[in-house]
């Protein structure tokens, strides 16, 4: 095909594409109106189709002409009300306009296109038979089959094969005669066909031309004129060496440049409606395909954004919209069940906010289930259970942005295309955009995207580190923080491996810029106004990366500036830097952190220039810019810096402090908190007993102790109190020989008993694992280390049992009723080896069989495995993987286990815990190591069962 006049052709293409862009929206409006036809609208579409047809005819684009003609026919019928537009008809029309667009975009080969599949339904409608859109066209197949034979005989020349097609194909009973080779398609075969026939691949559309209002161009011209004038003035002034005038000219140029910049920016601004306009179609087609009814409301079409942003926002938005349609909005039947309107609503909204443009996609669908997302992320190994535990709902919802996360339960061809939300996020990150999800299960999801107005020129904060200037985009900048030297120690802390700074009660993770980009650490000496080397912070010191402050000290600085620091304590030395810490608090879409730099400088508007190929591997930079003095400053990419410093994006949010604290809390919670009373018996050994076993503590004089009948007693509340010491049965040092003694009173077998001890006494809470083996002996349960003292945990129960066996004889024997012949089995869920063994011993002593699980999840598995044997569950509350509450909940959910008694063991029976336990189905609460009560309770329940 030869098209002579490029200019006319180009004009046709542009005009047609404009028409087509309108046609789509208009067709949708026509569909919506239904029988209530808006003539103006139909006329408009009709005219559009007509102009395309006319133009195509003039250009000799026969196929385009044919298709637009068929469309025009139908539109004509609608216009004259011979045809009521329904979704099917509009569908066919839309498909037609899509094809037209594809052909016009590929105009050179448009005459080779086969449009039969579009023509058949169009003509059918025109003839009055509403036919479903053509089934997948069978055409290509027979052609392929037919080709080989003639080719062999006819050698190279291909055209006869095409003519031969109908003949060999026709006899085949199952082959539908392809109407394909329209006369026009033979033309290119005859003339040397240069263009490759493929052309099916969708091409990325990037506008190369732009419509700008003439008035804007005029003002640009004026400004350019003024700029030239000012330049002349400047040259003159320089020639005459007139300083004062130079200043005036400088100001003038400054003004003109700013105006010019603004005007040029305006030419790049495009209404976001250009992108939004395609979504009604997307939503319509998708919802139809999924059998959902969805209404899309678009607000803020005229909000303007930079052309480059408009172009790149298209794909992420499409993805999000498709997600909303596919996953967000439920099926109409489900919506009805939930009491919602059957028709789902998606609102797409753009508006200005604080110098940025916000695009919001809101649906009233099922929302995102943070728990489900977290569970899925854990099962995919993206986060750990511990991380999930300490995440807020918002964070959980935002997990969806993690790479490798696909939220669809089943992969649909709509959204499950392997590209997840992480791609959306990456794309938005590139644009300097931020994305945030707020979701309420059952009530819908709102996704907000914040975008800068333009990318080309951005305001930046300039900072200096290691003698080089760097720019931090103002979008990422939260605030600037300067910590005076004398406060550094107080405000900078270490949580786990990370350094954090206290900022208005929150903890902010810190990164030292020099460490992340691996340059020499320097600092700025304010007094001498010069840069000095931070000697200890060498590049080679890799440890510094993990711990910028704590493993390298700033001795160099200290010597030079504060040779005599009063406080020479270790931590203080590390922080006694002459200069204060300058921190730039930056935020990315997923986190907020502090970047430590040498100096803070001005804020400037800078022009972003890309870095060369050789520097693409340097992920820490978003580009470079040229400063006023002609030198270059690198622009920092704060989100990549965070990645390089291994700040993970999910736990480094604005709640960094909570996360850090929660992590510490979690570590403690993993091991049970145990309240202990610490005391001594001899001077050298420290002992402890569980605080909750202690009734009271009395101060006595040694003289009050009476030695009667081989037993020590004292008068106590009108009776006599039996007294024991740890060394009565344990091989420990004897009770110290001093006058002032303490009596720790316990109540065992409903009788008070006093343990003689000396001070100092203290009540503490510990989380340390109790060592149940090393120091175990009669009367000693085990040992723990408290404040660097090995402390033996006294088993008062055992001492009493040894010394006063008759006390226990009086008590009803807890032995299992052997008559039934069944030994009841008890499942113990407890993560601490020590407590598990203790409880197990209580049980086995009493004749029960015990199955033990080291955490809730294991216990649950065991319960299922041994469902028939287990008569009772004794569980700890704080356990990894599945805690006691969860275990109880899981057990109670299964009707099979409804009758199994569940006893919860706790070290500290807090009221709210008890309430919570009762709520999930715990039968009894007992305090760990209170053997008596626990066993009484166990017996009680077992008796009821047997």
């Amino acid at each position: 095909m030869q098209i002579e006049d490029d200019e006319i052709l180009q004009g046709f293409i542009e005009e047609s594409l404009e028409h087509l862009a309108d046609i789509e929206t208009d067709l949708l409006a026509i569909e919506k109106a239904g029988a209530n036809i808006d003539e103006n609208l139909v006329n408009k579409v009709f005219r559009a189709a007509h102009s395309i047809k006319g133009g195509a005819g003039f250009m000799g684009l026969t196929v385009i002409q044919e298709l637009s003609h068929a469309m025009e026919n139908i539109l004509g019928m609608i216009r004259s009300r011979k045809l009521v537009p329904n979704p099917e008809i509009v569908n066919v029309l839309l498909q037609g306009s899509d094809k037209l667009e594809a052909m016009i975009n590929n105009i050179q080969s448009s005459n080779d296109e086969d449009i039969t599949e579009y023509l058949i339904p169009l003509n059918a409608i025109a003839e009055g038979n509403a036919v479903q859109p053509a089934a997948p066209k069978p055409a290509p197949e027979p052609v392929v089959e037919a080709v080989p034979e003639p080719v062999i005989s006819e050698a190279v020349i291909p055209e006869p094969t095409q003519q031969a097609v109908p003949t060999p194909v026709a006899p085949k009973p199952d082959a539908i005669v392809p109407p394909a080779p329209t006369p026009s398609s033979l033309v290119p075969a005859a003339t040397a066909n240069i263009t490759p026939p493929a052309a099916q691949t969708p091409q990325v559309k990037a506008d190369t031309s732009l419509r700008v209002h003439v008035s804007l161009l005029d003002s640009l011209m004026t400004l350019a004129g003024e700029l030239v004038l000012s330049r002349n003035q400047l040259l003159q002034t320089i020639g005459s060496n007139d300083l004062r005038n130079a200043e005036a000219v400088g100001q003038r140029i400054d003004l003109i440049t700013s105006e010019l910049q603004e005007a040029i920016m305006l030419t790049r601004m495009q209404p976001i409606g250009n992108v939004f306009s395609k979504f009604p179609r997307v939503v319509r087609d998708l919802s139809k395909q999924l059998n959902k009814t969805i209404e899309l409301t678009i607000v803020g079409n005229d909000v303007e954004l930079d052309k480059t942003i408009i172009e790149s926002i298209n794909d992420p938005l499409t993805h999000l919209i498709r997600n909303s349609v596919d996953h967000g909005i439920e099926m109409p039947a489900d919506r009805k069940l939930m009491g919602k309107a059957e028709k789902g609503v998606i609102i797409l909204k753009a508006y200005h906010e604080a110098g940025q443009v916000v695009i919001q996609i809101r649906d009233d669908g099922k929302g995102l289930d943070g728990e489900a997302l977290a569970a899925s992320a854990i099962s995919k190994g993206l986060i750990t259970t511990e991380q999930a535990l300490i995440m807020s709902d918002k964070e959980k919802v935002n997990l969806i942005f993690l790479p490798g996360f696909s939220m669809a339960k089943k992969v649909t061809d709509v959204s499950g295309r392997g590209v997840g939300m992480d791609v959306v996020k990456t794309n938005l990150d590139k644009l300097g955009g931020q994305v945030e999800i707020v979701s309420e299960v059952g009530n819908g999801t709102t996704i907000s995207i914040k975008l800068p107005l333009t990318l080309a020129i951005i305001p930046c904060q300039i900072i200096t580190t290691s003698g080089e200037r760097y720019a931090i985009p103002q979008v990422n900048l939260e605030e600037l923080l300067r910590i005076p030297a004398n406060q550094v120690k107080k405000r900078v802390e270490k949580v786990g491996n990370a350094e954090v700074v206290r900022l208005r009660g929150n903890l902010l993770p810190l990164i030292r810029l020099a460490d992340v980009i691996e340059t020499e650490r320097t600092y700025w000496d304010q007094e001498k106004a010069e840069q000095k080397e931070d000697r200890r912070g060498s590049i080679a010191d890799r440890r510094g990366k993990e711990s910028p402050f704590f493993q390298t000290s700033n001795e160099g600085q200290e010597e030079e500036n504060k040779p005599t620091t009063a406080d020479r304590s270790v931590t203080d030395r590390r922080f006694a830097a002459s200069s204060a810490l300058n921190i730039v608090v930056v935020s990315t879409s997923s986190m907020k952190y502090g970047l430590i730099v040498d100096r803070l400088q001005d804020s400037e508007e800078i022009v972003i220039k890309p870095l060369g190929r050789h520097l693409q591997q340097c992920k820490g930079y978003a580009g470079a810019t040229i400063m006023g003095d002609g030198r270059i400053a690198l622009i920092l990419d704060v989100s990549n810096l965070a990645k390089m410093a291994r700040l993970t994006s999910i736990d480094g949010t604005d709640r960094a402090n909570e996360v850090a604290l929660a992590a510490a809390e979690l570590m403690r919670a993993q091991k049970d908190k145990q309240a202990l009373l610490i005391f001594r018996s001899s001077e050298h050994e420290q002992f402890a007993v569980p605080l909750n076993q202690v009734e009271r503590i009395e101060k006595i004089k040694r003289s009050e102790i009476e030695d009667m009948g081989g037993r020590r007693v004292m008068q106590y509340r009108g009776g006599s109190l039996a007294l024991i010491t740890v060394d009565d049965i344990s091989s420990v040092h004897p009770l110290a020989d001093q006058d002032d003694l303490l009596v720790i009173v316990f109540n065992i077998c409903s009788k008070p008993i006093g343990l003689l001890a000396i001070g100092p006494i203290d009540a503490i809470e510990i989380t340390t694992e109790i060592d149940g083996t090393t120091l175990k002996q009669p009367g000693i349960m085990g040992s723990i280390i408290i404040d660097a003292h090995t402390t033996m945990l006294v088993d008062v129960f055992e001492i009493v049992q040894t010394l006063y066996p008759e006390w226990f004889a009086e008590k009803p024997v807890f032995e299992v009723d052997k008559t039934s012949g069944v030994i009841p089995t008890i499942l113990i869920a407890e993560d601490s080896n020590f407590f598990r063994n203790q409880v197990k011993n209580y049980m086995t002593e009493s004749g029960y069989k015990v199955i033990e699980g080291a955490d809730g999840a294991i216990a649950w598995d065991l319960l299922q495995k041994h469902a028939d044997e287990i008569s009772m569950v004794v569980t700890d509350i704080e356990m990894p993987n599945m805690n006691g509450f969860e275990l109880t909940e899981t057990i109670r959910k299964n009707p099979k286990y409804n009758n199994i008694p569940i006893i919860a063991l706790t070290t500290l029976a807090a009221d709210e815990d008890i309430a919570k336990g009762k709520a999930v189905g715990v039968d009894e609460y007992h305090i760990k190591l209170d053997k008596e009560k626990l066993m009484a309770c166990v017996h009680d329940y077992i008796k009821r069962l047997f």
């Binding site: 290691s466 080089e468 980009i517 691996e518 340059t519 220039k609 890309p610 870095l611 060369g612 190929r613 050789h614 520097l615 693409q616 591997q617 340097c618 820490g620 930079y621 470079a624 040229i626 002609g630 030198r631 270059i632 400053a633 690198l634």
Partner: protein, 154 residues
């Protein structure tokens, strides 16, 4: 092209020659955009070691490659004699930092010999050939290789 048809029937190529360390190298002068002595570079932390820095060349950001380091001949110090040879690379300009410039010579392409086999190792791969003049030997740089190779390394 005309030269080729006329008298000598030889293809002449103008070689710009320069020193990289002590080695005399040359490249087709037509591939050179300009030569300057701007040394006010901005260091790029974490850049490949052969990248000296970046330079503002009339509003364009130019990556400067230390040719000495790139060729494995040791680093080039910025002195009064050192120069940046700016060459264009797809989509950008790249500067090659050399120790000092030498003459421009006309070389007969027929006389450019293949790089000797013993020019192996890191240096050898960047040379497309050697050219002998009366008194010296010029290694002819394959600029495409010099500019390309870095990408795969990382």
């Amino acid at each position: 092209m005309n030269e080729k048809k006329t008298t000598t029937n030889k293809t002449l190529v103008e070689l710009a020659t320069f020193f990289v360390g002590d080695a005399l190298c040359g490249m087709d002068i037509l591939k050179i955009q300009e030569i300057n002595k701007l040394m006010d570079m901005t260091k790029v932390p974490q850049a490949p070691s052969y990248v000296t820095g970046i330079l503002n060349l009339r509003g364009q950001i130019v990556t400067i490659i230390d040719l000495g380091k790139k060729l494995g001949l040791g680093s080039t110090d910025a002195t009064l004699n050192s120069r940046n040879i700016i060459v264009s690379s797809p989509g950008e300009h790249v500067g090659l930092l050399v120790t000092r410039l030498s003459d421009v010579i006309s070389a007969d392409t027929d006389k450019i010999e293949r790089a000797p086999a013993n020019m192996g190792g890191i240096q050898g791969e960047f040379f497309s050939g050697v050219y002998k003049t009366d008194d010296k030997l010029i290694g002819i740089l394959d600029i495409n290789k010099v500019l390309r190779i870095e990408e795969q390394g990382h």
